[in-house]
């Protein structure tokens, strides 16, 4: 599924900061995009907008064939729940839920899948990310790499069209970081999911098929 930003700007009125300035980008189905740049360049804001977590102050967001810029929160949330998956730097697993429960959460929230189906999908995805031996563990009982693999499983359990990853290796050692990136690449290649990843790391960026460099809320360069 294509995603396009047309001259998108984002201004945080309470801080009087222009986080994005007339950014136009096109993401095609199956892209693995690395968004690079220093802190404060607008990476996270860009990810929030492409992840449908935030709305631009100006410009247009086209999701598939639809202009979703002014979509109501409820519809935007539903779209996000169905089509987007998130991976965070600090994993953001719910501490009171087991690995299995954390991974099942997007399906549970949507409330469409039957318990048996959820169970089977969770089991499959955990198998794929190599976490099936930690099903009943709580996040506090996992290593950083395991937590991120669980988070990736959670991000893709509902087969989203786009996976948004914000510094997915930023809190991992290089070995675990590489494992996570390999996993994302595998998912991208096997499922054809679009992966948009913000990163400081050149090594991480090298896993992507396309690289976008940002400075001061603008796209500085794009390279494939």
């Amino acid at each position: 599924m294509n995603l396009e930003l047309r001259a998108v700007s984002k201004k945080y009125s309470d801080h009087d900061v222009n986080a994005l300035r007339e950014v136009s980008l096109h993401f095609s189905s199956g892209d693995f995009v690395a968004v690079c740049g220093p802190s404060g360049c607008g990476k996270s804001t860009l990810l929030n907008i492409v992840g449908l977590m935030d709305k631009p102050t100006m410009g247009t967001v086209i999701f598939g064939d639809d202009d979703i810029t002014s979509l109501a929160d409820e519809k935007l949330t539903r779209l996000r729940g169905e089509r987007i998956g998130f991976v965070f730097q600090f994993f953001n697993l719910l501490s009171t839920m087991t690995v299995e429960e954390n991974v099942a959460l997007p399906l549970e929230i949507q409330g469409r899948a039957k318990p048996q189906e959820i169970k089977s999908r969770v089991s499959n995805i955990l198998e794929r990310v190599g976490m099936s031996h930690r099903v009943g563990f709580y996040p506090s009982q996992l290593s950083g790499g395991e937590m991120q693999r669980t988070a990736i499983a959670r991000a893709v359990i509902h087969k989203p069209k786009i996976v948004v990853a914000d510094e997915p290796t930023g809190n991992l050692d290089s070995e675990n970081g590489n494992l996570v990136l390999e996993l994302l690449k595998q998912l991208n290649q096997a499922e054809g999911q679009t992966i948009i990843m913000a990163t400081h790391s050149l090594e991480a960026a090298s896993y992507a098929s396309r690289r976008i460099d940002m400075r001061d809320g603008k796209v500085l360069s794009e390279a494939r």
Binding site: S44, N48, G51, M53, D54, D73, E74, T77, R78, R80, G81, E82, I84, F86, F88, F90, N92, L94, S95, T96, M97, L105, P106, E108, I109, Q110, G111, P115, S140, R154, H158
Partner: protein, 853 residues
């Protein structure tokens, strides 16, 4: 500014302002607790202090008084036997006083005081205090209290009526008493007249109620002993203030129990502050760790949080004191009816606010707040800095130690059972209250394990998850994860609900017991009392002749004249009564604690037997077969106790003797009430009008049918417990504030989780549903534990506290409909408490909170 002050401002005060809703709730909770406690304390103190003021004012400079232990009056002739005192420099004067009713129709109780106008003015503090020249010797001449004059626009020269017993008497205003001196007695609702006028009005010629004595201070004790030695055993010489002590003794159980109830709101408030400080230290645990890691001593960290508690305590107590003063008048009027009906009559007016009472309430609020804050502060500052930065370590501790805490809880339940077996101490059920406290604390200590087990089960069992959905599961999980705070919120709600349920069960049991008692004992068809008694003068009497007049009427089968009056039994205020034993035997009307029939009990009565009420038996430790010594006008008589009967009309305890015996030993032939038994075919209304016609012009009476009397009895009952309902409503309100406080903190704490859920596609409504799920689960467990503890407390109230305080056996009656309704209401209120936190949750700015975390 010192570093510690700067740190307090930046670390504590700014946080309090930032979290103003939580601060507001906490201060509100403390304020409610303190205000209720103060209002009840002020009302209680005012009731007694007004009585004492009247005693002081009427006594004037008298430092001793001679009274009868057996009743209201002593013979005036006794004054002659005191002539010898004059040689010792003792001055003395007679006084006659009683409560009467102002006017022909009204119901304004007034103290009629008969004074010896020629007596030394020192007997009336500040003089009689009138601003008019007056003539007290004219028939019907009277000085009128300032408030009475104000209320009824009386001026010198006006005539007015007093309804005294079953008659009306005309008086004439010869002067208005100022607020000082005698005019201040009875809050200004006083009529002072010459003693002969008073004797005539009270139909007590040659009788007085006391002799006031002014004894040289340096020989007071010695002369007191000499006077006591010269007096008959049934008369007593005491300082005037001892009358206040007697009233205090009479009302002690009522007042202590009321204060104990008011204290519960404070205890619930204590949980609220404990909860708030726990939330505060948990939320700021990482910052505490940072401060500790930066070298801030443990002592200073403690001081910071104690400062926070003190800020809550000072503000909450100050607001509570201000509100308490406002509520006090309401509390006084709520208890005034009960005081007047059961104990003593006095116009209470508005509450007297003593600075010492305000200070005491303020300090209690502050100290309770500080004490409640100590455990969480102690815990948070004693952990190592490395541990402190881990937010979840305290919650993990609570979860981990839930087994040990529940063991303490079970030991407290054991303590509850043991304390319930103990006897009253000085007539007050201290051990009963200790037992109740053990039950409350026991369940509080068991709450963490319940939270762990129940919410763990609800959050992880598939069957439950299918029912409650992902929102319910997340709600249960978050409560499980915050077990410490969850347990405290549930414990607060548990206390409020347990109090509400226990009081409801107690009141329902008491009510149904009284209804059954009224049904079983009110056997007569009509009940007669004097107009004055009907209109508020509790001690007013009827002429004995009325009984004879009614007896002669056609259709009347029997007439039971009953008389009762206060006496001092072994120094304790009690009641002695005279009833027609032959009529009681014939018509029944008494239920005995032994389960025996009236015939069985009466068959063993002798001419010197008495019956005693259950309160008298329990509170004076007397039982059937014992011999008691009762003071009478003719000396002390020994009476054998023939039976103990159920009686809920007074907790002072009553000794009933046959009226013939009463008349023989008491110089009193008047009656308090008359029960009339009619032939079954006689129409009640017709009989009523015939009785009124028969006594017309002779006696002013009021007649009630049994149905009307029953209705009145239940009205008095409901009025007595009205204040109780108000108190438990306030306790539940404080408990709900605690729930709201916990939910606010939980929703704040859950911001990150809510943010993640938003990323995962959760709608705002789903986040609200999670918070409402938390509210519902808190409400359910709070209600469940509250019902359980409420059941225990109701058993304690009915079988231990009530019995030891008032000497009444009450049959347990559970108001299932009330319990169902209140449970529903509590759940709705708990959901309502989730409204603000749910809105906060729905407004979670996911990117911000996830990034911040």
């Amino acid at each position: 500014m010192r570093f510690s002050s700067r740190l307090f401002i930046s670390f504590i005060l700014r946080d309090l302002l930032k979290n103003w809703v939580r601060s507001f709730i906490t201060i509100g909770g403390i304020a409610l607790g303190v205000s209720v406690f103060l209002a009840i304390t002020l009302a209680n103190e005012t009731a007694l202090s007004k009585f004492r003021e009247t005693v002081d004012v009427i006594a004037g400079k008298a430092n001793l008084e001679i009274r009868s232990q057996s009743g209201r009056y002593i013979p005036l002739s006794y004054m002659e036997q005191l002539v010898w005192l004059q040689n010792l420099g003792v001055r003395f004067a007679p006084m006659l006083q009683d409560t009467v009713v102002f006017g022909k129709e009204g119901s304004e109780p007034v103290q009629l005081v008969g004074i010896d106008v020629l007596a030394d003015q020192d007997f009336f503090a500040g003089g009689v205090g009138t601003n008019e020249s007056y003539d007290m010797f004219a028939p019907g001449a009277a000085l009128v209290g300032w408030r009475l004059a104000e209320t009824f626009h009386l001026k010198v020269g006006d005539d007015f009526d007093l309804t005294v017993n079953d008659r009306q008497h005309k008086f004439h205003v010869s002067g208005i008493l100022e607020k000082s001196g005698l005019g201040g007695a009875f809050s200004g609702n006083v009529v002072a007249t010459d003693i002969e006028n008073a004797q005539a009005a009270l139909d007590s010629v040659s009788k007085i109620s006391e002799i006031e004595l002014i004894v040289p201070d340096n020989r007071l004790d010695e002369i007191k002993e000499e006077i006591q030695a010269s007096l008959p055993a049934t008369m007593i010489v005491e300082r005037p203030e001892s009358r206040g002590n007697n009233v205090e003794k009479m009302t002690r159980s009522f007042q202590y129990n009321l204060t104990a109830l008011a204290f519960i709101a404070l205890i619930v408030g204590m949980f609220l502050i404990h909860n708030t400080i726990t939330i505060s230290v948990i939320r700021r645990r990482a910052e505490i760790g940072t401060l500790r890691a930066l070298g801030l001593p443990r002592r200073q960290v403690s001081a910071l949080f104690m400062g926070e508690a003190a800020a809550f305590g000072v503000l909450g107590s100050a607001v509570g004191v201000a509100c308490g003063v406002v509520f006090a008048d309401g509390a006084l009027s709520a208890i005034a009816g009960t005081m007047e009906h059961f104990y003593f009559q006095h116009p209470f007016g508005s509450t007297s606010v003593e600075p010492s009472s305000l200070l005491r309430a303020f300090l209690i609020g502050l100290v309770i707040t500080m004490v409640a804050a100590v455990p969480p502060i102690w815990e948070s500052t004693t952990v190592q800095p490395a541990e402190a930065v881990r937010r979840s370590s305290l919650e993990s501790k609570v979860l981990g130690s839930s087994g040990r805490l529940s063991l303490i809880g079970l030991l407290l339940f054991l303590g509850c059972w043991l304390a319930a077996q103990g006897p009253p101490i000085n007539g007050f059920p201290f051990l009963g209250y200790l037992s109740a406290l053990c039950a409350i604390l026991g369940m509080s200590f068991c709450t963490p394990i319940l939270v762990k087990s129940i919410f763990g089960l609800v959050g992880s069992t598939r069957a439950f998850r299918r029912i409650i959905g992902v929102e319910g599961t997340l709600a249960a999980r978050s409560l499980y994860g915050a077990s410490g705070r969850t347990s405290l919120a549930i414990a607060s709600l548990m206390i409020g609900i347990s109090m509400m349920i226990s009081l409801a069960i107690m009141i329902s049991s008491f009510r149904s017991t009284v209804v059954a008692w009224v049904d079983q004992t009110l056997k007569a068809d009509l009940w007669i009392q004097s107009a004055s008694r009907e209109r508020g003068s509790r001690q007013a009497r009827l002429s004995e002749a009325v009984s004879g007049m009614i007896q002669k009427l056609p259709g009347v089968v029997a007439v039971d004249g009953f008389v009762e009056q206060r006496m001092l039994y072994r120094g304790e205020p009690s009641i002695v009564s005279g009833g027609e034993f032959n009529i009681i035997k014939r018509f029944g009307g008494l239920r005995f604690t032994s389960g025996e029939s009236v015939d069985q009990v009466f068959s063993r009565l002798t001419s010197k037997s008495c019956l005693i009420s259950e309160s008298f038996a329990i509170r004076r430790n007397v039982c059937t077969g014992d011999t008691i010594e009762v003071p009478t006008d003719k000396g002390i008589i020994s009476l054998s106790v023939g039976g103990v009967y159920y009686d809920y009309s007074s907790d002072l305890g009553q000794v009933v003797i046959d009226r013939e015996l009463y008349k023989k030993y008491f110089d009193d032939h008047s009656l308090t009430s008359i029960a009339v038994y009619l032939r079954p075919d006689v129409d009640l209304e017709q009989a009523r009008s015939e009785i009124l016609n028969a006594v017309n012009g002779y006696s002013l009476i009021c007649i009630r049918s049994t149905r009307e009397l029953r209705k009145e009895a239940m009205r008095v009952f409901d009025r007595t417990f009205a204040v109780t309902y108000a108190l438990h409503t306030i306790a539940v309100t404080v408990a709900l504030l605690s729930i709201m406080n916990a939910l606010l903190a939980l929703s704040f704490e859950s911001r990150r989780d809510f943010g993640i859920l938003r990323y995962l596609g959760a709608q705002r409504g789903q986040l609200q549903a999670i918070v409402y799920g938390q509210s519902f689960l808190l409400g359910c467990l709070g209600n469940g534990t509250g019902l359980f503890v409420g059941g225990i407390l109701s058993l304690l109230l009915v079988n231990v506290i009530n019995r030891q305080s008032f000497g009444w056996t009450v049959q347990l009656a559970i108001p299932w409909d009330f319990i169902a309704q209140s449970s529903l209401l509590v759940l709705l209120a708990a959901l309502a408490a989730g409204f603000v936190p749910a809105r906060q949750a729905a407004r979670t700015k996911a990117p911000e909170v996830v990034r911040d975390e």
